[in-house]
């Protein structure tokens, strides 16, 4: 189970604040400005897991100030540009000032609120619009009205929060409205407001069946925004942003300049994008020898051929050495020490926590034996780490059985990601066995462990749960976990594509249902 997830009956959130990325995308798509300026919010969210989880998103004082400043800045930008205002008016908007203002409010409000405004809401905004001439200077009456209502719309709680009220609850459960489903679906798959097609479907009450949701989901996944949303999930799951600041000791690894980290990020991102575009599966992520290189990355892999700095070329890595994302340079070098020694422990911790959803226990409350100086000259890294944390030591419980075996599978790769067979004159040992939830599996090294991961129900369960957290934008509740388990089983048994994993989770009842506290 994803740490933090709960099988206990916990109410689903009824309001969910937009993440920073969702806010940025939404503002961009709402205002239709060719150059909306800097949309960065200086106050970042202190999220615990993924960036969109409702449970961790609040409006604190500094974020409010940022949102207010941005709303004022953007509203002024639109109001000062007649063309920009015209983009936000409906086609054939009436000329009568009040009717025109009403049309502006209803059209823009429908998109910002992701539902039609009520009559009372329209009237409230119209009243504010009519104050435009007295609240602004240097603008026409209409432009002044636009500025002041945009300033309000962009800070409105009905814009900043998605809602999940649904209809009347029966036995503590209520199905979400069409507009709520549309908004949740759109933010799950495009990180922004619903497009015209999805909005029309919601207006027509056409989102109450799983088939209808699936149709829109498949359509949205294929859009550029859909691909970007998938990228964002993998970016977070695999920590790709951390590669960007990868630094190595230049005395040991002069080839690892500051430019390398971002390139390794790009390499893994392209690998994941490629698999997704090919209807790839979770197994493929852990077993495919395909990758993409430019001249720098090709050099780091030791590939022969002609490569250029600006062109990324698809290549096949040696499948006996490298299979899947865990054998890519980014992962291996990120989990490497400052020099060229591999960080076996943190490679193992990552696999246990992020890929297998294990909640590792804290270290023992005693001091571990210290590595004597000089032992590194005639021992392998595995021998050193095992001496301190392996079987027979105080760290045996976690390190000996869970962390070290997973990490040691990658001993054939040093801290720079280079394949090697000896260390300090000793042969490297990357064999081991791991106690998966569905049984102990033995392996000879990284390729076999990656394959074992792909065949493990534990990996499929954890991966589906992580996708659930991302798509449902919350720490998974009991019903969410049940939906994830169903899709995980299909992923394992039927080898469904990653795209079908997404659609499966979005067509589950849990996605369109509000659950009350018991």
């Amino acid at each position: 189970m994803l740490p933090g997830a709960s099988n206990a009956p916990v109410a689903t959130p009824t309001i969910a604040r937009l993440s920073e990325a969702q806010w940025q995308n939404s503002v961009r798509d709402l205002l239709l400005l060719p150059a909306p300026g800097d949309l960065t919010l200086p106050t970042a969210d202190a999220v615990v897991r993924l960036d969109n989880e409702a449970d961790s998103l609040f409006v604190n004082q500094s974020l409010h100030d940022d949102l207010q400043a941005a709303a004022e800045r953007l509203a002024a930008q639109v109001a000062g540009d007649a063309t920009a205002i015209a983009r936000l008016l409906p086609v054939n908007a009436p000329a009568d000032p009040t009717s025109r203002a009403t049309a502006f409010i209803q059209t823009f409000g429908r998109r910002a609120y992701r539902r039609p405004l009520t009559a009372a809401e329209t009237q409230t905004y119209l009243t504010l619009f009519n104050q435009g001439p007295t609240l602004t200077t240097g603008l026409s009456a209409f432009a002044g009205g636009v500025e002041v209502v945009l300033q309000a719309f962009l800070q409105s709680p009905n814009f900043l929060y998605r809602t999940g009220f649904g209809g009347a609850a029966t036995q503590g459960r209520a199905r979400l409205t069409d507009h709520e489903i549309a908004a949740n679906l759109s933010y799950a798959l495009t990180n922004s407001i619903p497009d015209t097609t999805l909005s029309a479907a919601a207006d027509q009450g056409g989102l109450q069946t799983a088939d209808a949701v699936a149709t829109h989901a498949q359509r949205l996944i294929a859009t550029a925004a859909g691909k970007a949303a998938v990228d964002r999930f993998y970016f977070q799951l695999f920590g790709l942003g951390q590669y960007d600041t990868l630094e190595k000791n230049p005395a040991v690894a002069p080839q690892f300049t500051a430019a390398v980290g971002p390139l390794l990020h790009t390499e893994t991102q392209q690998f994941l994008q490629y698999l997704f575009s090919q209807n790839g599966t979770l197994r493929d992520i852990f077993t495919s020898p395909v990758t993409f290189v430019n001249s720098t990355v090709a050099g780091l892999y030791g590939l022969k051929g002609t490569f250029t700095p600006d062109t990324w070329t698809q290549v096949q890595l040696d499948p006996t050495q490298r299979a899947g994302v865990l054998t890519r340079l980014g992962f291996l070098a990120y989990y490497g020490h400052d020099g060229n020694v591999q960080d076996s422990i943190h490679r193992g911790v990552y696999i246990n926590r992020r890929l297998l959803c294990l909640d590792l226990s804290p270290p023992p409350g005693i001091v571990l034996p210290t590595i004597p100086s000089g032992t590194t000259t005639n021992q392998t890294n595995r021998q050193i780490v095992n001496a301190i944390t392996g079987p027979g030591t105080c760290g045996a419980n976690c390190h000996g059985t869970l962390i070290n075996p997973a990490g040691f599978a990658f001993e054939s790769f040093d801290g720079l990601g280079n394949f090697h067979t000896t260390e300090n004159g000793q042969p490297v040992d990357s064999s081991g066995s791991y106690p998966f939830a569905d049984g102990v599996k033995s392996f000879s090294g990284a390729v076999e462990l990656s394959k074992a991961l792909g065949e493990s129900a534990q990996l499929h369960n954890c991966h589906a749960t992580s996708w659930t957290a991302n798509l449902y934008a919350r720490v998974p509740r009991a019903g969410d976990l049940a939906a994830a388990a169903v899709v995980a089983q299909r992923s394992l048994a039927q080898n469904i594509s990653s795209a079908d994993v997404i659609v499966g989770l979005l067509t589950a009842d849990a996605f369109v249902t509000r659950v009350e506290s018991p």
Binding site: G4, S56, A79, P157, Q236, V385, T389
Partner: protein, 481 residues
């Protein structure tokens, strides 16, 4: 009310707390701060012009400063005597601290690095977290160090506090409305969801809600001076009839009404209702910013140079000292009465260079690198010298009643006691400044078995705030003068 009377009131007050609730009351000592502020009318509402203080013109005399609290908190623990390792942090003798005594300890004890301040220090041993670990001592300790909470929510490295932190309590009691505590962060990871490897902050706005630390000193400065978080639309002429101020007022009225309507929905859970309540509280018609104090051009240049790369290894220690400059600036100018710098994340993964050797601090703290014990001692000394820099800046500012340092309390502590075992006790608490005589000085004391919550109560009391952190009342009596 005299200072003594104020302290007596704090000592005798008892607070009833059900579950985990933190309450705060203020003593009259805080009233002097508001009396010294000037209220100006400006763009977007009323600008709170803070007192004209030459904060960054060292040794110039300015008005007396009310008590403040500045905290520097590191991670990974320090090298203490535990399970076979020799003591390398605390002084060798309890009791009075002298420069000579601390210098004599300097070869073996990291606190000897700060011997110049011996007569103004209070070292407090015996404080520890009370909540048990929930799968990751780092996250659990991170959740407790400023909250003293007895209940940690969540598990593993996603554990969070269930209650508010002391800096928030103090800021709400003493700062101008809408001015948060200054909370700065010098770590390896940014906020915003970079993929589970998140910083885990020690400051909490409320239970379950961390306050994101500001990584860039420049942005923190801009926030204080109003460059961030304010904007000018049409109008913005300044003055009571400023169109932007009027427009903001009308918009705010609409937003408040919308939140009120939303909040009335019966489907909302208590958590969601609380979320809206907090949002409502952030909407204010008064803008607060510093209008009459600035940092030096050299400092701003240095801040600008590291603005885009606050997480770079090479900038880590520069960021720390710049953050400390900002803390002194914010505290001395009266912008805030409480400022916190978190060094590291829930663990400190920074790679320090010790005698030419690169050391990943967290790994060394687990003693899984050759010479880890010695390397960690060196890192402890680096961090104590950073704290000394903070004290030097506070001491350099004179007030009519003495150096600024003596008006408040500067604290150096750590989320954990020791690294190898991720220990919860004894936490290293190194205090300087007495809050104008409220706390003892020149002493190294062992208070036995005191919770983090009660230590936090004591620090809050020193600045005039009576609180019961994590639902625990009382103060650490041996610390009081």
């Amino acid at each position: 009310m005299s200072m003594r009377m104020a302290r007596a009131r704090i000592r005798t007050r008892t607070t009833t707390a059900s579950a985990i609730r933190t309450s705060a009351t203020t003593t009259p000592r805080d009233s002097q701060s508001f009396g010294r502020r000037r209220f100006l009318v400006g763009a977007g509402g009323v600008t709170l012009g803070l007192p004209i203080l030459d904060a960054f013109l060292p040794r110039r005399v300015h008005a007396a400063t009310p008590p403040f609290l500045g905290i520097i908190c590191s991670a990974n623990g320090v090298v203490q005597a535990k399970a076979g390792e020799a003591e390398a942090w605390w002084p060798s003798q309890l009791g009075a601290l002298t420069t000579a005594g601390m210098l004599a300890d300097k070869a073996t004890r990291a606190t000897g690095e700060i011997s110049d301040y011996a007569s103004r220090l209070l070292l407090v041993k015996g404080v520890g977290h009370t909540a048990t670990a929930t799968g990751c001592n780092h996250a659990s300790a991170c959740a407790q160090i400023l909250t003293g909470t007895p209940t940690v929510m969540g598990s593993s490295n996603q554990a969070v506090s269930s209650s508010v932190s002391v800096d928030t309590v103090i800021a709400k009691a003493l700062n101008a409305p809408g001015v948060d505590p200054l909370f700065l962060h010098a770590g390896m990871y940014p906020a915003g969801g970079s993929g589970f490897n998140v910083p885990s902050y020690i400051s909490y706005i409320a239970g379950g809600q961390q306050r994101p630390g500001i990584d860039s000193p420049l942005k923190a400065y801009q926030r204080m001076t109003g460059v961030l978080g304010t904007a000018a639309g049409s109008g913005a002429t300044g003055g009571a009839a400023d169109p932007l101020a009027l427009r903001r007022k009308s918009v705010n009225d609409l937003l408040r009404a919308e939140i009120t309507t939303l909040r009335a929905r019966p489907e909302l859970s208590n958590d969601d209702r609380a979320r809206l309540d907090q949002h409502f509280s952030t909407i204010r018609d008064i803008e607060v910013k510093l209008t009459n104090a600035t940092l030096s051009a050299a400092q701003l240049t240095q801040m600008t140079s590291v603005d885009a790369t606050p997480y770079a290894l090479g900038n880590h220690e520069t960021i720390q000292t710049l953050h400390m400059d900002l803390m002194v600036f914010a505290l001395s100018s009266g912008y805030t009465r409480v400022a916190v710098l978190q060094v590291g994340d829930r663990e400190d993964d920074h790679i320090y260079t010790v005698n030419g050797t690169s050391v990943q601090f967290h790994t060394a703290s687990h003693r899984t690198l050759p010479n880890s014990y010695t390397l960690c001692q060196s890192i402890d000394r680096i961090q104590i010298n950073h704290f000394k820099y903070f004290l030097d800046q506070l001491s350099a500012i004179q007030t009519p009643t003495g150096p600024l340092l003596d008006q408040g309390v500067a604290v150096n502590t750590n989320q954990l006691s020791t690294g190898p075992d991720h220990g919860f006790k004894p936490l290293p608490f190194l205090l300087a400044g007495t809050a104008s005589g409220f706390l003892k000085k020149g002493q190294y004391i062992d208070v036995g078995n005191v919770s983090t919550a009660v230590m936090l109560n004591t620090l809050a009391a020193a600045v005039g705030v009576n609180t019961s952190m994590g639902g625990k009342s009382g103060t650490v009596a041996p610390m009081l003068a």
